[in-house]
């Protein structure tokens, strides 16, 4: 990493361009992972990379340069190359670039580093044993643990200097079950910012049982009917639908490029007053939290939809400059090798006052969707599709048969309109996920309590 004074000199070089904005992003990123499959420990891996990138924004255009394994000289060279390619140098003689250290708005708890790779072997073996003992139909188990620790220094043209250590740990279990003819898969995963203390919070028995239960139950699952039905979206995972179908459409770059169905809808009522959608980078311990965004700004909580009314988009600094939208510190990037864009952090539906029991009893025929394999949305139209990987039929107000994997299809705006109930704080949960955009993948949390939607198209039988 670099001394603050040295970075100040590089910044001085960039400030001579008099850009709209610039930043310097330095990162040392370490990764450890271990897999257990077929009852064998596999693919032990540990490594570290170090790199930096410089970004200059001039007249709305981004000029970006990556410096691998950077030295101070390499950083200066990159800064000079950027200056020459921008061809916009209008130095202000004698102007000195000054730095102010930014205080983190998110206080992190102490976390347990993963020292020796073999430390987690017992956890993985216990997961495997628990899954196999869950049911004789379990034929294969894959479990793995991954920890990524990223130390970053960020300096931007406003003088913000931010330093942060970001550790994320994730445990995953995938179970295959067979009845001799069909093979079904179930999975569970948990991830938080922090270290191996995660494993104590999520014992192997629960990770294994959650995955095995789904795999085994799917062997006798029924095929969901096709058509429009009321759906209760389960806590945590169910939030993916709002991440994909709503959140992406609220990213300011899509609004500016006129490729979002949410363009021009600020101030409009999109949902019932029961719906408040928030994107926050400062939910303690949650997967998508960081003290700072990746442009050197303190992270924050942004209310996107308040009591059903759209009140904000998500904006990084470039989009703030280009559009005038309030800056919401949503500038995120996968690593030093990538340009930041407006990205979600932890996106969640705020708990309401309804109850799961009341939701159930109001449904004659519908679906309870607890886990999703992911989804995809077309931001231009708002149309989406999600794969339900753990779901159950609701018949006459009761949860009955498990259903085979099925897709839910719809439109983000329509889903918002059709939210009828949101359950309380006691049901609130978050889940970790990886969000893809512009060829980059960043950790993003999703969350919600139970949310009932009056109708969603199910692509079943």
């Amino acid at each position: 990493m670099f001394a603050k004074d040295d970075l100040q000199k590089v910044a001085q070089e960039l400030s001579d361009i008099t850009p709209d904005f610039f930043d310097i992003f330095i990162e040392e990123r370490s990764n450890k992972s271990l897999v257990l499959e077929s009852q064998k420990l596999e693919r032990p891996s540990a490594g570290t990379v170090f790199g930096a990138s410089l970004r200059v924004i001039v007249n709305g255009a981004t000029y970006f340069s990556v410096v691998d394994n950077p030295t101070l000289e390499g950083m200066f060279n990159a800064a000079r190359e950027l200056k020459s390619s921008v061809k916009h140098t209008v130095a202000e003689p004698g102007k000195v670039f000054t730095i102010k250290t930014v205080e983190p708005p998110l206080k992190k708890n102490p976390w347990t580093p993963w020292q020796e790779l073999g430390e987690v072997a017992d956890y993985l073996k216990a997961t495997d044993e628990c899954a196999r003992s869950y049911d004789p139909k379990v034929v294969q188990v894959t479990s793995y643990i991954n920890q990524e620790v990223s130390r970053v220094q960020i300096l931007n043209s406003l003088g913000n200097f931010a330093e942060e250590e970001r550790s994320r740990t994730r445990a995953f279990c995938l179970v295959y079950a067979s009845d001799g003819t069909a093979v079904e898969v179930g999975s569970d995963n948990q991830g938080k910012i922090g270290g191996l203390e995660l494993l104590a919070h999520y014992p192997p028995e629960s990770l294994a049982a959650n995955a095995a239960k789904v795999a085994v139950s799917k062997l006798s699952a029924v095929t969901a009917p096709s058509g429009e039905f009321p759906v209760i979206l389960g806590p945590g995972f169910g939030g993916v639908i709002f991440h994909e179908a709503i959140g992406h459409s609220l990213e300011a770059d899509g609004i500016r490029k006129q490729v979002s169905v949410m363009r021009g809808k600020l101030g409009e009522r999109l949902a019932s007053p029961k719906v408040t959608l928030i994107d926050s980078g400062i939910v303690p311990d949650e997967w998508g939290s960081n003290a700072f965004d990746d442009e050197g700004f303190p992270n924050q909580e942004t209310v996107l939809i308040k009591d059903g009314i759209l009140v904000s988009y998500m904006s990084d600094y470039l989009e703030h400059l280009l559009t005038g939208f309030p800056h919401t510190a949503n500038g995120r990037r996968e690593s030093y090798e990538y340009i930041p864009y407006p990205r979600m952090r932890n996106t969640f539906i705020k708990p309401g006052k309804d109850t799961f029991e009341d939701m159930l009893t109001s449904i004659k025929k519908g679906l309870l969707a607890l886990k999703f394999g992911g989804g995809q949305v077309d931001p231009v139209t708002g149309n989406f599709i999600f794969g339900v990987t753990e779901g159950y039929l609701i018949e006459d107000g009761k949860v009955t048969s498990p259903i085979k994997d099925v897709s839910m299809v719809g439109n983000g705006l329509t889903i918002l309109e059709n939210i009828e109930a949101v359950s309380g704080e006691e049901d609130m949960d978050f889940m970790p996920g990886m969000c893809g955009k512009e060829g980059q993948s960043v950790p993003a949390g999703i969350g919600e309590p139970y949310v009932m939607v009056s109708r969603i198209l199910i692509g079943g039988e």
Partner: protein
């Protein structure tokens, strides 16, 4: 980086091992256009390098990676890999001994700005006022050395162009097309723009309709995405470990008798040569599937050692940071004995897929995925959007009923060379 020095050090002090080194430089420019006004969005330059080290200690494999090339850092990375190798089950991995060089240099040069300006002119001349276009050039090099004496290098240069128009009717619709080449002077920019527009218009203001018994044809990008996802089912590790629907079915007819899948190490339509994989193994052309019969799975080094097979040459590293995964380099889809698509009265041409990874269970074959496209009926075209395709993909691949005579190559993690095929047995729900 002196790979020879470090591999000798590993051989002397650590046991067996290999080092995979990569170096790449790239420049990318992206232009945007809104309301007919073209503007520069991004100029990005990258030069990155790094190395991955594997140590095989008494058959156990450990891996580490880094990008600091000073001696202390490299030796530390080797130590980490050795420590990692204390874990795991011993496997009798036999490192290959190969020497070779594969090279695919650029046959011509072209200015990226000129490419983008030409594309912009074409779009604007067609009345398209909202689009994005990206052009890039990348030069990449990798070298694999191991303690058995393997020293394989590969270098290639290529240009890439991606275009994404947003077309308007009552509503709007976006789609994309792209091309990669090492001879940019031959890039047909008109064709690239036309393909992207055809795809964007194909489902513009589309209806959502249901069909049963309608043949479905996936456009080449969607077909490559679908088959790329399914190819994993032929992986030896998945087959042997009961993670594939083809477990225990070697020698049996599992898919349409008109269909063969062959792994290749080169193809006239594919950019680059793949004579060696990223473990130094010679990539041998081999049929996975011949006339619908499952001939043999593919195996990387570790899987081959575990199951007593010959490695196929599928050790594929997506960067120096990752251990090799068993992923083929080129898959050639061969379809024989079927009429052409023109023989069909009508079919659905799918030009956009959503949710493959969440909606397709490659193990059971069950799928339920979102799609947009066009109902093709002779010369008539009806745009369709917001539809769901469902069924069992393995049953569907038993029902190939027509194919185009010409083939197209699509780059992805695996290059796919294939005709377009018509599939029967997919339920289309609107």
């Amino acid at each position: 980086m002196e790979l020879k020095k470090y591999i000798d050090y590993i051989a002397k002090d650590k046991g067996d091992g290999d080092i995979f080194y990569t170096h790449s430089t790239s420049k990318t420019i992206r232009m945007g256009c809104l309301d007919g006004k073209v503007f520069l969005e991004e100029v990005s330059s990258k030069e990155t390098s790094g190395y991955g080290v594997r140590i095989f200690k008494e058959g156990r494999t450990g891996f580490s990676f880094g990008n600091k090339t000073d001696e202390e850092s490299v030796l530390q990375t080797i130590d980490y890999a050795e420590q990692a190798s204390q874990l795991g089950e011993p496997l009798a991995v036999e490192l290959p001994r190969n020497e070779g060089k594969q090279e695919e240099s650029a046959k011509s040069e072209r200015d990226l700005n000129e490419i983008l300006e030409t594309i912009s002119e074409i779009f604007l001349s067609k009345g398209v006022k909202k689009f994005e276009a990206t052009a890039g050039i990348e030069t990449s090099f990798w070298q694999l050395v191991n303690t058995a004496g393997t020293d394989v290098t590969s270098s290639e240069s290529g240009y890439s162009v991606v275009v994404m128009p947003v077309v308007s009717g009552e509503g709007e619709n976006a789609n994309y097309w792209f091309s990669v080449t090492n001879d940019p002077q031959t890039l047909d920019l008109n064709e690239i723009v036309l393909r992207s527009l055809n795809r964007a218009y194909s489902s513009l203001d589309g209806k959502s309709m249901s069909f049963k018994g309608l043949p479905v044809v996936f456009d080449s990008l969607e077909w490559a995405e679908l088959l790329g996802f399914l190819l994993d089912s032929f992986g030896g590790k998945n087959v042997e470990r009961q993670k594939s629907c083809f477990s225990g079915k070697v020698g049996q007819r599992v898919l349409s008798e008109h269909l063969s899948l062959k792994l290749e190490n080169s193809h006239p339509k594919v950019l680059g040569k793949y004579f060696f994989d990223h473990e130094g193994v010679s990539v041998k052309p081999a049929f996975l599937l011949k006339d619908g019969t499952f001939v043999e799975p593919y195996y990387g080094l570790a899987a081959a050692a575990e199951f007593g097979k010959e490695p196929t040459g599928v050790g594929h590293r997506f960067s120096f940071r990752t251990q090799p995964n068993d992923v083929p380099f080129i898959c050639h889809v061969q379809v024989q004995g079927l009429p052409s698509l023109d023989s069909l009265d009508k079919y659905l041409l799918v030009t956009s897929l959503k949710g493959i990874h969440s909606g397709l269970n490659a193990v059971s074959g069950a799928f339920s995925i979102g799609a947009d496209g066009t109902l093709v009926s002779g010369a008539e075209r009806v745009p369709l959007s917001g539809i769901t395709l469902s069924g069992n993909i393995w049953d569907v691949l038993n029902n190939i009923i027509a194919a185009t005579p010409e083939e197209e190559a699509v780059p992805s993690s695996t290059w796919l060379v294939s005709p377009l095929v018509a599939l029967d047995g997919i339920t289309v729900t609107g």
